[in-house]
Subunit: 74 residues, 12 copies
């Protein structure tokens, strides 16, 4: 088994509809510039209220991906 | 910058459908009697089971709102 | 009031769509072999990513049910 | 199922005798001015010491109650 | 020293009187069907309120016991 | 010792200068409408950034005060 | 106001009867050799089981006391 | 994707040598009676001391495994 | 509402004077190379002691900023 | 590298002015009777309120120092 | 003392043998592309199980390093 | 059963090799000056990095021991 190392970054996704969609939005954004995305975990769930109703759901995620031999660790 | 202070209350919203809807229900209820609702954060997610299926999703939220000069802090 | 005792087990449900559906799936699976399921609470929310999009939502739940006089505690 | 929302307040009860009695005292005090009290959960347990012995047990509780249609959320 | 492994289960005991009695009730129930019970630790303390007074104290416990060579791990 | 019960509310104070001043601002605001304020504890410390510098320090506090016989618990 | 500093130590008290008595026992033991004991807070509650019943309740406490000018900090 | 559900149990493994060996011992014990073991996570690490040296390392683990269609959830 | 995603990084700022100044220093450093810094939250507060006095206050912060369409997520 | 061991004690410092000063006061007190003080970390921040204003800031700290060969561990 | 700021990243190291080796592997990987690595702290310990035995130990670490004047904060 | 009380102290052990050895080193150091050491639990695991490799593993432990009738509690 060749050694492997994963990096874990923290993102906050936003959606008007649901926690699941906010999660999907953050993952989709990350995949535009990162390869090998592997897993996520929810850190916290928050949101903003405007005019007495939920204006946006926010989900803070940790997202893990495998470092390739040519990826800087930071 | 004039000083401002926010109060944070804790509510539990309920829905038969999803965590997002339970969140919306609690915020809607709060907005019936409170002004200046600004943000929420999820404290915990629970629910009841009846006849072997999820009967209600419960989301405990902290909800923050700005205290006006005439609002009692409690 | 006759004394009663509840057992709490931990399950991880999976869904392609949402955290709520992952919750429902785990409860439905548990109800195939357990009676008296009463409540659940979310322990953590995670998921896997494939090809840059969320492939599955995972919800770890504690599920509580009343022990009958003839149920082994384990 | 008509929607319902619960409010959760935090109280600290005190007793010279035990954690259970401190809990009962806080709930009894809350019930003097609030209706529909439904559940409590312990947040922390502390106390004061005088002359080398426990002078009071303090139990910080969250207490949940259902908001009626005419109850202000705060 | 022969290797040994313990299993830890989670139970919720109930009492009208105190947290200690709720603890004892859960342990007594577990001992009806499990051998080698060794230790417990409190996970959370909650309760229900009826008519403005504490109707039941609930103590969620982890209970540890040694797996015998013939005990299934689950 | 006559029984006493404390209520604990959650506030968020703001300051341009420091965490201590944000704490003082929230306590001062609370004292405009509440009597018997007794202690506080810090729940979290956050802030906003504008133009690359800290624009405001925010301190979320729990504030405890003794309920008088005529104070509603909520 | 002359400056004052408190030291906080951690003890585990034991009782056959209740969490409150285990708390009292630890405080009484500490007061045999320490002066100025001021407050305690519960860190965790555990216990041992023998022959299928609770043999001892254990309460881990933090105990705070004021350092006198002649007390070593450790 | 057919739905799947995992069960998560809690075990405490023991070793005279290291935390890693205590982990291996618990997993080996679980695999004697359970199939489909998939992952573990460390909950806590403790141990006993005898004659002034570490007598045993204890690792409390959560162990997850996939429920087969014929496996009882408990 | 166009979707937006935030990235959250973790920094440790240092000051000889106060926690607030350590916070400001970390934010100032981050703003040298990052745009759109939006909020921070305190993760932990530590420091070093030299010759019996506090030599530096250290504040570990999470700092959030909006990802522009051309910003790599990592 | 010769082996070294650190002891960590818990103190509560007090100040009328700020959290930083309360930290400094506790460290200064500890340094009167302890050598080799090395680092501190904040455990919690609290305070007392008198006449509607903050009367004292309290900072609970862990303070670490290296045990010399002649220092008792307790 | 010139001001300094540290960045903290999160990595997951893997090893077939032990938690210590998984830690070393992650640090070694990070040092291929980062300078000034200073400290690490363990966030969580997990692993995968294959054929009833531990196939890999995983250690999630925070790793801190000093930002040089020419290092982007992200 | 005669009453007994335990004291719990916090130590940080260090090793170049592993977390287990760092644990052993701290326990060995404590046993030079303390009797009746009974158990330990891991609070956190950290370490220093030098020249891009792990220079030392640090394990913060709580160590419990029974207070004899002649032991000062502090």
């Amino acid at each position: 088994m060749p050694e492997k190392t994963f990096k874990i970054i923290e993102l906050c996704g936003v959606s008007e509809k649901s926690y699941a969609e906010a999660t999907k939005n953050a993952v989709a954004k990350a995949s535009q510039t990162l390869r090998n995305l592997d897993w996520f975990e929810v850190v916290s769930q928050r949101g903003f209220i405007q005019n007495g109703r939920v204006a946006e759901f926010q989900v803070v995620l940790k997202v893990g991906f495998r470092l390739e031999s040519t990826t800087p660790a930071d």
